[in-house]
C-alpha cells in the first residue's frame, strides 16, 4: 500500500461493471467539477473482473493533473466488494463514490464536498425523478417502499451511486455481496449522520432499462438479507427460533389431534395424509431452531462485533487531553431504535 490516509483531500472510487458507459467522458465531467474546488484528488477505478469492454473504457481515461489508479479484481465479486477494495486503497480525507455511467449532474459533487466540510458524515445525491421513464419510476418506488418497510428508515434514493463519505465511515462500512445499495441504511445504523441532497437526473439515466426477471428475484433476496441484517444479526435464534417454535407447535398439534382420534375414537390413520403434514411441520420446526443456534455459534466466535461508534466526550474547557473527538450533540436527531419491551 502506498501513501497514508489523509494524503489527498478527495478519493473518487468508481466501480466499473461489465458494460460501463463512456468512462473517458465521465471522468472528464467529474474531474472538471473537482478541479474547480482546488482540492487534491485521486481517482480509483475498480474493474469487476478482466472484462474487455470495461478495460477498453478505462484505458481511454486521460488525466494530466490527478493520479488515476485502476484495480482489476480477479473475478466478478460485485459492486459492494469492489467499493470496499477501492475504499481500502484510498487515501483521501473524503471518499466520493461515482457510478460507471451518468446518473445525475456531476456538479453535485461540489455540494457534497461542501456538506462534508460542514460536518456531515454521509451525503447522498438524490435524483429528481420527475423526468424519468415510468417503468424506472415504478421499479424504484416498489424497491424503496419495501426497503423502508424492512429497515424502518426512509431514504429517497438508495440506488444513487454518487455518495460522499468521510474517511471514518468508508473504513467502518463492511460491504460485501449486494450491500452497496444499503449504504445509507447501514451507515445510519452505526450512528453516522446521513443527509440527502437533491440533484437533477442525467438524461442518460432516464432511459427505460430492460431488466431480466432474475434480477427482480435477486433484489427481493437483497431485501430479505437487509431484513435479517437490520433486525436479527445480533440474535439469529430469536428469528429462526420463533419460526421454528410455531412450526413445531403446529406439527405437534396436528399429530396430537390425530393420535387422540386414533386412540380414543379408534379411527384408523392409514388414509390420513394429514399425519404427514404434522410430521413435516415438526421436522421443519426443529430445522429452523437449529439453524438459529448455528447462527449463534457463528456469531459468538466471529471476530466482528457490530457496535455503534463510541466517542469519549471531553468537558467544555478545563482538560481536554484524553478526548478523541468533540461532543456530537446533534446526534440526537438520528433515528432511534430501541427494543420496545
Amino acid at each position: 500500500m502506498t501513501g497514508s490516509a489523509g494524503d489527498v483531500d478527495v478519493s473518487v472510487v468508481c466501480w466499473v461493471g461489465s458494460d460501463p458507459g463512456d468512462l473517458a467522458e465521465l471522468h472528464q465531467a467529474y474531474r472538471a467539477e473537482l478541479a474547480q474546488t482546488g482540492r487534491t484528488v485521486e481517482f480509483i477505478y475498480v474493474l469487476d473482473g478482466p472484462r474487455p469492454r470495461a478495460q477498453a473504457a478505462v484505458a481511454a481515461i486521460r488525466d494530466t493533473q490527478f493520479p488515476v489508479t485502476v484495480i482489476t479484481m480477479a473475478a466478478g465479486f460485485g459492486e459492494a466488494t469492489g467499493l470496499q477494495l477501492g475504499f481500502r486503497r484510498s487515501r483521501g480525507k473524503f471518499v466520493l463514490t461515482i457510478p460507471d455511467r451518468f446518473q445525475s449532474d456531476p456538479a453535485v459533487v461540489r455540494d457534497i464536498l461542501g456538506r462534508l466540510d460542514e460536518g456531515e458524515e454521509v451525503v447522498i445525491a438524490c435524483r429528481d425523478r420527475r423526468g424519468d421513464a415510468w417503468r424506472n419510476r415504478f421499479q424504484f418506488a416498489v424497491f424503496h417502499a419495501l426497503a423502508r418497510r424492512v429497515s424502518g428508515r426512509a431514504f429517497q434514493d438508495l440506488t444513487s451511486g454518487v455518495r460522499g463519505l468521510r474517511r471514518e465511515v468508508a473504513e467502518r462500512l463492511d460491504l460485501y455481496g449486494d450491500l452497496h445499495r444499503f449504504i445509507p441504511i447501514l451507515a445510519a445504523r452505526r450512528g453516522f449522520r446521513v443527509t440527502e441532497i437533491p440533484v437533477a437526473q442525467h438524461p442518460e439515466d432516464r432511459v427505460a432499462r430492460r431488466v431480466r426477471v432474475g434480477i427482480y428475484a435477486r433484489r427481493l433476496l437483497d431485501l430479505l438479507n437487509l431484513f435479517f441484517l437490520t433486525r436479527f444479526t445480533v440474535k439469529p435464534l430469536r428469528f429462526f427460533g420463533l419460526i421454528g417454535l410455531l412450526l413445531s407447535l403446529a406439527g405437534l398439534g396436528i399429530s396430537g389431534v390425530l393420535a387422540a382420534m386414533r386412540i380414543l375414537d379408534g379411527q384408523p390413520l392409514t388414509n390420513r395424509p394429514l399425519l404427514l403434514l404434522g410430521v413435516l411441520l415438526i421436522v421443519l420446526g426443529v430445522q429452523f431452531v437449529t439453524l438459529g443456534l448455528l447462527g449463534e455459534i457463528i456469531l459468538f466466535f466471529s471476530p466482528r462485533r457490530e457496535l455503534p461508534e463510541v466517542h469519549e466526550l471531553s468537558p467544555p474547557a478545563a482538560y481536554a487531553s484524553v478526548s478523541t473527538s468533540g461532543p456530537g450533540q446533534d446526534a440526537n436527531d438520528l433515528e432511534h431504535q430501541r427494543e420496545v419491551p
Partner: protein, 325 residues
C-alpha cells in the same frame, strides 16, 4: 496519572433526572473509602438531556469520564463500550436508575481483590412490582441457574464486579451482559455472589417489561449450547442426536417386525415416525459436524486467552499464599 484502582461503568439511557443524584451518591459512597477510582458514564444515545447532565458532571470532577454511543444500541453495547475504556484492575457495572446502591460498590470490589473473578449482586429484597417484574425475574433466574449450572440467584442485577481481564476478553453482544457470569464460568472463572441493597425507582421510568420472556428463553438456549462441553457445541448436537436415532431404530424394528413377521403392514404411523426420527437424528449429526467445522475456523483467541490468564494467575495465587483463603 496512575491507573485507578477500580472503574465503575454506568450505562445511561434517558436518565437526565437521575444523573446528578447518581453522581452525588457515587461520590458520597466512594470518596470516604478510596479516592483513586474512575466512573465511566456511557450515554446510550439518549434523546433527553442526559448527555448535557453527564458533561456537567465530567467538567466538575476529573475522575468522571463520559462516553457517548452515536446511536441507541442497548444496554449491553453501552456496557461493552464502557468496559473497553475501563482502566481499573477491577471493573464494576451498575444501573443508572439509582436502584443499585453505590454503598455496595466497596463490598463487591473488595471481593474481587480478594480473589474472585466475578462478583454478582443479589437483590434479595427487590423493590419492584411483584407481578410484572419480580416474579418473571425469579422464574427466569431459576431457569438460567438450572440451564447454565452457574449458581447465581439474580442474573438481572446490573451491580457486578469483574476482574478486568474477564470483561476485556469476553466480547459482549446483543443482551449478553446478563449471561456474563455463565460465559465467564465457561473459562473457569471463579464466580461469587453477595446480597446487595435495592431501592425503588425514584425518577424516570423503567425500560423493561414482561414480554421479553421469549428473548430470554432464546438467549438461554444459546448459552446452554455454547457452554455445554466447554464451548464444543458439536458434541452437544451429536449427543442430542442419539435419542432420536435410537427411537428411529426402535420404530424401524417394530415396523419391519409388523411387516414381515406379523404380515400386517397397513399402518402409516410407524413408517412416518421412523422417517421423522431418522431425519431429526441425521439432521443433528450433520449440524454437529458443521458446528465443529465452524469452530475449527473460528476466532477463539479471546476465550483461550482468558482461560489461560485465569489459569496462570490461579497457580501464582496458590504458590504465594498457600491456596485461596
Amino acid at each position: 496519572m496512575s491507573p485507578p484502582a477500580f472503574s465503575v461503568v454506568v450505562p445511561l439511557f434517558d436518565e437526565e433526572d437521575n444523573v446528578p443524584e447518581l453522581c452525588r451518591a457515587l461520590r458520597a459512597a466512594l470518596d470516604g473509602w478510596r479516592s483513586e477510582y474512575e466512573v465511566i458514564l456511557v450515554d446510550d444515545g439518549s434523546r433527553d438531556g442526559t448527555r448535557e447532565r453527564i458533561l456537567e458532571e465530567v467538567s466538575r470532577d476529573r475522575r468522571f469520564r463520559a462516553l457517548a454511543l452515536a446511536t441507541n444500541a442497548g444496554q449491553t453495547a453501552a456496557m461493552a463500550a464502557g468496559f473497553a475504556a475501563a482502566r481499573g484492575r477491577v471493573v464494576v457495572s451498575m444501573d443508572g436508575d439509582l436502584q443499585n446502591d453505590p454503598l455496595d460498590i466497596p463490598r463487591v470490589v473488595t471481593r474481587v481483590e480478594e480473589g474472585a473473578d466475578v462478583v454478582c449482586g443479589w437483590r434479595k429484597q427487590r423493590q419492584d412490582p411483584w407481578w410484572s417484574r419480580t416474579l418473571p425475574s425469579k422464574i427466569a433466574n431459576t431457569l438460567i441457574r438450572w440451564v447454565t449450572g452457574v449458581p447465581i440467584h439474580d442474573n438481572g442485577c446490573s451491580l457486578k464486579a469483574y476482574r478486568r481481564e474477564v470483561v476485556q476478553h469476553l466480547k459482549l453482544y446483543a443482551e449478553m451482559h446478563r449471561f456474563l457470569p455463565a460465559l465467564a464460568a465457561m473459562t473457569g472463572a471463579r464466580i461469587e455472589e453477595i446480597v446487595v441493597r435495592h431501592h425503588p425507582r425514584r425518577a424516570g421510568h423503567s425500560k423493561y417489561g414482561i414480554s421479553r420472556t421469549f428473548k430470554v428463553l432464546a438467549d438461554m438456549l444459546t448459552i446452554r449450547m455454547l457452554s455445554s462441553f466447554a464451548g464444543r457445541p458439536g458434541r452437544w448436537y451429536a449427543t442430542l442426536s442419539v435419542p432420536w436415532l435410537a427411537a428411529g431404530s426402535a420404530t424401524l424394528a417394530t415396523w419391519l417386525f409388523d411387516l414381515w413377521i406379523l404380515r400386517g403392514g397397513g399402518s402409516i404411523v410407524l413408517p412416518s415416525l421412523t422417517f421423522m426420527f431418522f431425519y431429526l437424528g441425521a439432521h443433528l449429526l450433520g449440524l454437529s459436524l458443521l458446528s465443529e467445522m465452524i469452530l475449527a475456523h473460528a476466532d477463539r483467541t479471546h476465550l483461550l486467552q482468558l482461560a489461560r490468564t485465569l489459569a496462570a494467575e490461579r497457580r501464582l495465587d496458590a504458590a504465594s499464599s498457600g491456596g485461596p483463603s
